[in-house]
Amino acid sequence: MTNQTFDAVSLSIMWDRLVSLTDEIVSTLVRSSFSTIVYESYDLSVVVLDAEANSIAQGTFGIPAFIGSAPVTLRHMLKRFPAETLKPGDIVVTNDPWLGTGHLFDITMMRPVFRKGRIVAYTISITHLPDIGGTGFGSAATEIYQEGLRIPICKLYDAGKPNELLIDIIRTNVRVPEQTMGDVMANVSCNEVGGREINAFMDEYGLEDLMPLSRAIRGQSETAMRAKLRELKDGTYRNRIKLEGFDGPVEFAVRVDVAGDNVAFDFDGTSGCVRAGVNVPFCYTNAMALHAIKSLTLPSIPNNAGSQAPITVSAPVGCILNAQPPFPTGGRHAMGHFVTPLVYGALADAIPSEVQADSGMMNLINFQGSRRDGRAFSTLYFASGGYGALNGLDGWSTLPHPSNMAVVPVEVWETLTHTTVERKELRTDSGGTGRWRGGLGQEVVLRNDTGHPLTILGMGNRTQFPAKGVFDGGDGTLRVHAVEGKPVHAKGRLEVAPGQRITVTEAGGAGYGNPRERDRQAVAFDVANGFVSREVAQKVYGWQE
């Protein structure tokens, strides 16, 4: 069966089935998880890899940060534990930012899938743990050692037997041992389900070896991707953006070489690391670059090694997009998310009709305190800025990009924390003007009604550098964090006294194209609904009632 080929029907059927079984593994993981960041925000990934460590299917749901990281982690794991030494029931684990996904919070677990005594595949699951010790989720650390427990590549299970010492070490080092171990075990069981499902799948289609199918899937993906990349105009494209670091601005630079059906990204010219937990290990940079190019070219094709083959990514060692230990990386997303607008900006001239104007991006704030009844809580508040406009599509209000999340409803948030949301409103004129308007940001006012002091850890961006419009589109408005009306550092750690108010003002998305060319009915609709003020409509859009 080694030279087996598949026609367009069989390949479609088996491929869809493989993605679907990967989604079933995700579903098992999500439904037994204890952390909102997994079950609400899908900060997770599940990947099926072939016996040669090529990824062949990735769960449909998950966040972009994990694209392409699993095969690299697996290769590191196989260096430590060569395939021929692995046994059924082994589970290998690590949370090392440089071997895994860029920060200590993500645990990566791998389980070999045996069939008739031979490894035919590997499954990998990754989730963001509720806690990993150290300073807690945020950007406050100055060295990786402050950020929590770092687990080298080791076995959590050896031939089905749990590694009690490791479990003890994890329990002892985290603030919420039950929930953390609950999530670790959710990973264990979902990988077991994965092994079972893969064997059932192979039974069903009479396969003894996944390599021919893997080659067919990767080959088909690569062909489709290359065909799409050939549509890009050859050339070298560059972009450079400024964003907030911790104490001052940081610069990101990219050079994109498009040559035939290959694309190469290089981040030379990017600033060095900073002494705050916002440095980005290369695996994260790589994932965000892959996400950017995929979303511009072939968004609907499933993720696997094949679709990534024509793309290379590099960044100089030691720059903030290829951070090295001991720089801290806890809030690496706060910086890493800017790889997407950086790349879109670079490619605006290569594919003007496909690029998106900058988005206001999501915002994560870690809230730690006690409820009125004294019970402690540590939870994440999410709010989103506006979505950047595209050619032919206004940006959606309060929709995150490039990463994703789900807002916690006001009613649930108040019940969980005993804080009060005084209002949550769209900001008129916050979306960048344009033929296609940017999405609106929002303003949320939270009051500390818990009766206790509240600690908030911010990881906010776009407080100095707005979402940039494209092709004469306007910029979005900036993000502001304030306490009692006074602006505060959006990446800082703050104490909020009982009765005090926190105002979170979310950035607007940017516009696309000249606002004077905007459809007049669309302007009238925006004015009638207060998305755009009368003044801006007249002044910028040239609107007459």
Partner: protein, 692 residues
């Protein structure tokens, strides 16, 4: 003593007339009248009773299912609707979940809110999470809003206040004031419609209710008057999405509960068939022209849930519709049906659906100008459909056009010969449906391998056996009257009403007394709807369910409590029931505190009986059941072979057919594979035991 079920679908309005004395069922179909759907209902009722010689005075009940409410939302044909909302929170409707349902598709789409921002009026008032009042309702502001709504030409208003599920008084008072100030307004309030925590979903549900209320009210009015004018003196009931029926009074108040009532009735009849056949676990499968719907039946009852998405705007994608919270039969919906178009996907491989050729132009073989290959074209080319016997011969199909569409549309580019491409289209759809069932069942801890599949709809019987085989389900059932399943299902739906309320509490923080009293309030609310319909207390069955979880988890498990007159005595056993349910799903028990999130009560009136079953009028066996043979595709051999063809209406109870065979009925063809064995049961259902 006759009862009539009427189900309005997109193309046809279906009728079923049940004679309780003779256990006889008569069915009838006529074209739907989109301008005024009540017209087809009245004409059809008249035609059916005349045909059967039944005096209208002998008809006691008309039970009605309709997609009217769903369609009004999809087509945005509702009233100009306003919203009265807690100050500072009206924009929640534009913000939604603040989440993308697709990570890569930059051109993602969401439905615009039913109430645009300019029609939302904010009023000062605020209830805290625990139900206490922080800011009292500003009654003057509510009164002033009436004039504002009039100026905006608003006809219906959704009153949506934060935490109203914990303290409905503000919404109630606001409704009172608005009714006084503007008596002609239709008013819905969120705690009344569905008192569930999570404002965006509850408020969206309330706006759907308000938006459809004036239209549905007029419709029921026309229907009642029309039925009265032909002499009907019985009761009219409206089918709800949950599988129960509502009085017209309740339905007028909560039209949102009538979303998707037709498909719910189909699943209900599957469940009933299963009970009659002593097959308690089923996969109910309905495939028509554009979509396939599936439901799971566990221990004789369809599995339910409390959320549904309507009016999806992006390729049936989950997340692209309006989220509505109501009790519904838990359905899978996928964009797969006879009209589904086969094409190349972004990978360069074959894909079928969700794009559909619909009914117009329809599949290439309809000869109405369609050129893209569809599932129906494939089934015709494969010989499963007969070009001369489509809809019982009412419509001629063009086989050459179908072959051409498949060859040109996908065969050439994908280097597949036409027959291989046709089988690919057929098989891909079967795989898609099987996959959807597999995921759906796994997520619900349902062991589908021990179940049976019940298939209906125009395209369901063509694929059921092959889907069942993929799922390793041993049996497929082709019920009698499959073409009007929903109309039949209406006849067995009991009068019922369900309420659910969010009240999150640790199990340790309550006692038997407060447990019982929380339930008692809900029981009284729900029972009132049945009492008003004349159901005696002794005939009301109360079922109680709780959504529970370990503290810190985000997903709840539904725990059904045993039947009891009052909830108090059930308190002690409740934590153990949760632990058992959790263990059943996740094979593990945890040593974590347990909390209750939602409280649910359903009150159910006596279920109408179909006795031991029914036989269709006009079905009579005949010796000449076998019509002949035709060439059809045999996947095992990869080519065309001779298949025997049977006339379903001529098969008599006890008859057996061994596959391969095609059993034809007016609306569809049952494809029976080699190795399968079909028995005709006493009520003319076909039961296929599937070979491996």
């Amino acid at each position: 003593m006759y009862r009539i079920g009427v189900d309005i679908g997109g193309t046809f309005t279906d009728f079923a007339l049940y004679d309780a004395r003779g256990s006889k069922m008569a069915i009838y179909k006529c074209l739907t009248t989109p301008q005024d759907p009540s017209q087809a209902v009245l004409d059809g009722v008249k035609a059916l009773i005349e045909r059967e010689g039944v005096p209208i005075a002998d008809v006691t009940d008309v039970i009605h299912g309709t997609t009217l409410v769903t369609n009004a939302v999809i087509e945005r044909r509702g009233a100009v609707t306003g919203m009265l909302v807690t100050a500072g929170f009206g924009d929640i409707m534009d913000m939604g979940f603040e989440r993308r349902y697709d990570l890569f598709d930059l051109r993602i789409k969401y439905p615009s809110p039913l109430v645009p921002r300019r029609l939302r009026v904010e009023v000062p008032e605020r209830v805290r999470f625990d139900g206490t009042v922080e800011t009292p309702l500003d009654e003057a502001a509510v009164r002033a809003s009436a004039a504002k709504f009039e100026e905006l030409e608003v006809k219906a208003v959704a009153i949506c206040f934060l935490h109203a599920y914990a303290h409905p008084e503000h919404e109630q008072r606001a409704a009172e004031i608005l009714r006084e100030a503007a008596p002609e307004l239709f008013i819905s309030s969120s705690a009344d419609v569905f008192p569930h925590m999570r404002e965006f979903e509850r408020w969206t549900t309330t706006t759907v209710n308000a938006f459809t209320q004036p239209m549905f009210d007029r419709y029921i009015d026309r229907l009642e008057k029309g039925l009265a004018s032909i002499g009907f003196g019985g009761r009219l009931y409206i089918m709800a999405s949950s599988g129960g029926t509502l009085t017209t009074e309740t339905a007028r108040r909560f039209p949102v509960r009538a979303l998707e009532s037709g498909p719910a009735a189909g699943a209900l009849l599957s469940a009933w068939q299963g009970r009659a056949l002593k097959l308690p676990n089923l996969l109910s499968f309905d495939m028509g022209g554009t979509t396939a719907k599936g439901a799971l039946v566990r221990d004789g009852e369809p599995i339910k849930k409390y959320s549904i998405e309507v009016a999806r705007v992006h390729e049936f994608r989950q997340g692209s519709g309006l989220p509505v919270k109501i009790p519904v039969i838990d359905m899978i919906e996928i964009g797969a049906g006879g009209g589904s178009i086969a094409e190349l996907d972004a990978r360069g491989l074959l894909r079928v659906g969700p794009r559909s050729a619909g009914a117009d132009p329809g599949p290439a073989c309809y000869g109405r100008g369609g050129t893209q290959p569809t599932l129906t074209d494939a089934n015709l080319v494969l010989g499963y459909l007969d070009a001369g016997f489509f809809l019982g011969g009412a419509m001629k199909l063009d086989k050459a056009a179908a072959e051409n569409a498949i060859a040109e549309g996908v065969g050439r580019t994908l280097k597949l010969e036409t027959m291989r491409a046709a089988w690919g289209i057929h098989d891909l759809i079967s795989e898609d449906v099987a996959r959807a069932f597999r995921v759906h069942a796994t997520e619900r801890g349902f062991d589908y391998r021990s179940g049976s599949m019940v298939a209906f709809g125009g395209s369901g019987p063509l694929h059921a056996a092959s889907i069942a085989r993929k799922l390793k389900i041993p049996r497929a059932i082709f019920p009698v009257g499959a073409g009007v399943m929903s109309a039949l299902g209406l006849l067995i739906s009991p009068l019922a009403f369900e309420v659910a309320r969010s009240r999150r509490i640790h199990v340790d923080d309550i006692d038997a007394e407060s447990f019982a009293s929380t339930f008692a309030t809900l029981e009284a609310d729900a029972s009132a709807f049945l009492r008003r319909a004349g159901v005696a207390d002794r005939d009301i069955r109360i079922t109680r369910r709780l959504d529970m979880r370990y503290q810190g988890q985000g997903h709840e498990i539904e725990v059904s409590l045993p039947d009891a007159p009052s909830a108090g005595p059930l308190f002690a056993g409740m934590p153990e029931l949760f632990a058992q349910a959790y263990e059943k799903s996740y094979s593990i028990r945890l040593d974590e505190p347990v909390e209750i999130v939602n409280w649910k009560v359903e009150v159910i009136g006596p279920a109408p009986s179909l006795g031991e079953g029914y036989t269709l009028t006009g079905s009579a066996g005949s010796a000449k059941a076998r019509k002949g043979t035709r060439l059809a595709y045999d996947p095992a051999r990869g080519g065309m072979t001779e298949w025997p063809v049977y006339d379903r209406y001529a098969l008599t109870p006890g008859a057996t057919v061994t596959g391969p065979a095609l059993i034809e009925e007016r609306e569809s063809t049952c494809v029976i594979g080699a190795g399968d064995r079909v028995t005709v049961d006493a009520r003319y259902n076909l039961i296929a035991e599937l070979g491996s």
